[in-house]
């Protein structure tokens, strides 16, 4: 059948390199599966062992404008406000200009905060924070030590003042008689 109007086929896009992508499922439909843990391998939290959050425990709020949504509006407010109902912790995320990305990041941040809330010092988040604080302090201490060492070295080995030499040459005017 022919299409009314002109269609321009733009192009066939063929990728050469394969960027890695981890499937990350987050659908509101999963309300029906309250036991299903989410955020198993979500971004940077994959190296931590954190308490899983289910969508049923979360309440999400993001402004998409009143009235007809979708095409009919062009709202740019992509801020996501995410609440963990059991603990009452709220995260507000407006790190990017994409709603999907903000939702993702909000969940990562919320998962960390919730884990910290329930596990306290046992939380990987807490341990990581402590470890990085320790590193920072260690770095500071070493830098201070180095500075002290340099100062001390200067005191015991003052720089020698360079002496200026003047060379004179004395010629003999003795002649062979």
């Amino acid at each position: 059948m022919s299409i009314p109007g002109v269609f321009y086929i733009t192009f066939l896009l063929r990728d050469i390199r394969t960027p890695s992508w981890r499937p990350w499922i987050l659908r509101k439909q999963q309300f029906s599966l309250p036991g299903v843990p989410l955020l198993q391998a979500a971004g940077k939290n994959s190296s931590f062992n954190l308490l899983g959050l289910t969508e049923a425990e979360l309440k999400e709020q993001f402004v998409r404008g009143d009235g007809p949504g979708g095409q009919a509006t062009n709202k740019t407010n992509n801020c996501v406000v995410l609440k963990h109902i059991p603990s009452g912790i709220v995260v507000k995320c407006h790190q990017t200009r994409s709603v999907e990305q903000n939702r993702k990041i909000a969940r990562e941040i919320l998962q960390e905060k919730v884990d910290l809330f329930y596990r306290g010092e046992d939380s990987d988040v807490f341990k990581e924070k402590k470890a990085s604080e320790k590193k920072k302090q260690e770095k500071k201490r070493k830098a201070k030590e180095n500075l002290e060492r340099k100062k001390h070295f200067k005191e015991i080995c003052p720089r020698r003042v360079r002496e200026t030499f003047v060379i004179i040459s004395i010629h003999s005017f003795q002649t062979n008689r």
């Binding site: 059948m1 299409i3 109007g5 896009l13 949504g69 979708g70 509006t73 062009n74 740019t76 990017t96």
Partner: protein, 347 residues
């Protein structure tokens, strides 16, 4: 705009006529006085120096006074953009309190002037994000809406579900190379997102307007890892030519679906700058939807699907229409109410 130099407005905003450092004076914009730019010295560190926060607050007030919607958001996006960040929240605290250079202030002013003309922020900045991609934006090519990100996610879920099904077989199945057709590609948001996430796929992006095709091509080339394995040509003719790459796994579209009678109520930003053909779906908003559905059976594989973003009123209408056109052998499989998308597949 006309009101900015009005003495009453200046008093209303509590603005004191403090000069901005630097060469703002060259600007002979239609709105602002060429001599000076009043700026309230509220939380600025030192006299004569303005921080990002100061400037955001200032332009927010200017936008509000001129009736610009999303005054705060617009101001934040513009200032963040000039400072090289995506959003205000993503700026570190150092940037927030570092004084802005004269050049930066001038850039912010130029962009804000466009916003004062009700230009959508995405066109003002010339770019916007869709999922994890940053795409170039240019009027009048349709700006991708946040809801459409959900459409892409749904297609990806369906694709992975298909893969799982295949791998459940007891013999090895070659890795699928889904063929995806996007109808009405606009800036290329959907097509390029899908291609990024499904690098083995083949994506055909189609649009009625040359400006959209050009912008999609530009965005594809900007995503550097997409090599120039792209062919481009134009034609007038039969849909069968789309089958050059074989029967299609997914047809995806965010077609124009606004009811014609609702067009006049759209925001000024949309009416003034976007291509209205990308929005107007005819009397029942179904004109292009019907065309796609009529086209689908001759293009789709038996296991293929059509994913459409539609108006909340459309799922029922589509179902009724399909019942009246049983020859199409399409069935409405799912309605995703989050953003109102529908998935259809051949019977």
């Amino acid at each position: 705009m006309r009101c900015l130099t009005h003495p009453l407005l200046r008093r209303l905003l509590g603005l004191s006529p403090l000069c901005l450092p630097g060469g703002v004076s060259q600007n002979k914009g239609p709105i602002l006085s060429p001599k000076w730019l009043p700026l309230r010295q509220s939380c600025s560190a030192r006299p004569g120096l303005v921080t990002a926060t100061d400037v955001v607050n200032y332009w927010q007030k200017v936008f509000e006074a001129s009736g610009i919607p999303e005054a705060r958001e617009s101001s934040e996006y513009i200032v963040s953009f000039v400072l090289g960040a995506k959003t205000f929240q993503s700026l570190n605290s150092k940037s927030l309190y570092t004084p802005l250079t004269a050049v930066q202030q001038e850039q912010i002013q130029q962009l804000s002037i466009k916003r004062l003309e009700r230009m959508p922020v995405q066109y003002v900045l010339g770019e916007w994000d869709f999922q994890d991609l940053t795409l170039k934006m240019r009027p009048p090519v349709f700006i991708p809406r946040p809801e459409t990100e959900d459409l892409v996610s749904l297609v990806l879920e369906e694709e992975s579900r298909k893969c799982e099904k295949n791998s459940g077989l007891c013999f090895p199945v070659p890795v699928p190379h889904p063929v995806i057709l996007e109808i009405g590609c606009g800036s290329g948001a959907i097509a390029l997102s899908l291609l990024c996430k499904l690098p083995q796929s083949r994506v055909i992006a189609v649009d009625k307007k040359e400006a959209a095709v050009d912008l999609t091509r530009e965005n594809a080339h900007r995503l550097l890892w997409l090599r120039a394995g792209s062919d481009s040509f134009s034609f007038l003719g039969s849909a069968k030519q789309l089958l050059f790459w074989g029967p299609i796994d997914f047809i995806v579209s965010n077609p124009p679906y606004v009811f014609h009678e609702d067009m006049a109520c759209l925001d000024t930003e949309i009416l003034r700058y976007e291509d209205l053909d990308a929005l107007d779906g005819g009397d029942d908003g179904m004109r292009v939807i019907k065309t796609i559905l009529a086209l689908a059976p001759s293009l789709l594989k038996d296991s293929g699907s059509v994913f459409l973003e539609v108006d909340p009123r459309h799922p029922d209408m589509v179902e009724n229409w399909l019942q009246v056109h049983p020859n199409l052998l399409l069935v409405l499989r799912a309605i995703h109410k989050d953003f109102c998308g529908i998935a259809l597949s051949p019977l």
